[in-house]
Symmetry: C2
Subunit: 143 residues, 2 copies
DNA sequence: TTTATAGGTCAATATTATTGACTTTTATGC
DNA sequence: GCATAAAAGTCAATAATATTGACCTATAAA
């Protein structure tokens, strides 16, 4: 059992994590809501933007959702022209996804709020703090 | 506009945040699912545990949900004996909430997985890293 | 005594996700 | 060439989570 004072200190971190995540996702959520979109749409736009040419199956793995859960929002993004699709030349079963110009613009707007938050804070707290934060987050990721 | 290399680096942090949060909430989610409970129940147990004697209105503010959204899971927790209620002696409209012994036990189990993750990582990365992480998370929280 | 606050509840609706079953198209191993 | 598998898409049923809106009781305060 962990020392009680230490536990109280660690609980502070749990709360910071919860509230920080909420504050971090709130600005893009608001922009999305104005367009009738949700956080899933942001995630799709984000990862398609990061990995142009990614496939549906890859995206399913990255997002950790079912095919059925991805289908509706992805189709919606294709329909409104934010994501474009092309069949893979070597394997026509595979659909390769990419952002359109409009999609890239919206993605930049959404993610821009988060980039700005991080940049400002990393700048304020310094490079060592930034790297320490990333090491810790990476540790949590694979825990 | 941010430098492109810098932006790529910051995007790494966005992804770490996303995946770390998911990994951080997964273990308690699994324990909860076995009992037919959800993440809301954990949040309620957590904050009632942290602030024994808290009220329904306070909890609504902390969790950022509506009264109707809180009502069902909170009532459920009271019904199964994980949370106890007493009327405030000075203002009988106010209901004061606290964990029962069973509630405290489940809360400790749920939060224990997260405390263990943090303790192990903070121990590994050192005190400076821990404090830097907290400063950054606190900055995000109030951004 | 009027008004406000704390808490609770019913109803309707929306979103997001799940499991399960099934189809089409295309590749690949034999 | 044929059986099998993989990638993508879709329909249906269900569950959970949350919302807005309306309304109620009990208690406190002006």
């Amino acid at each position: 059992m962990i020392d009680l004072n230490r536990q109280t200190e660690l609980r502070e971190s749990i709360e910071l994590f919860f509230f920080a995540y909420r504050a971090f996702t709130a600005p893009p959520d608001r922009i999305l809501a104005d367009r009738g979109l949700g956080r899933v749409h942001h995630r799709i736009l984000y990862f398609v933007g990061r990995q142009p040419g990614t496939t549906v199956t890859e995206l399913l793995g990255t997002l950790g959702v079912t095919k059925q859960a991805l289908n509706a929002p992805l189709r919606q993004l294709v329909e409104v022209g934010l994501i474009g699709t092309t069949a893979d030349p070597d394997d026509k079963r595979v659909k390769r996804l990419a952002l359109t110009a409009d999609g890239a613009a919206l993605e930049a707007e959404l993610t821009g709020t988060q980039l700005a938050m991080l940049e400002k804070l990393f700048d304020k707290e310094g490079r060592d703090a930034e790297l320490a934060w990333k090491r810790l987050m990476d540790g949590l990721r694979q825990a």
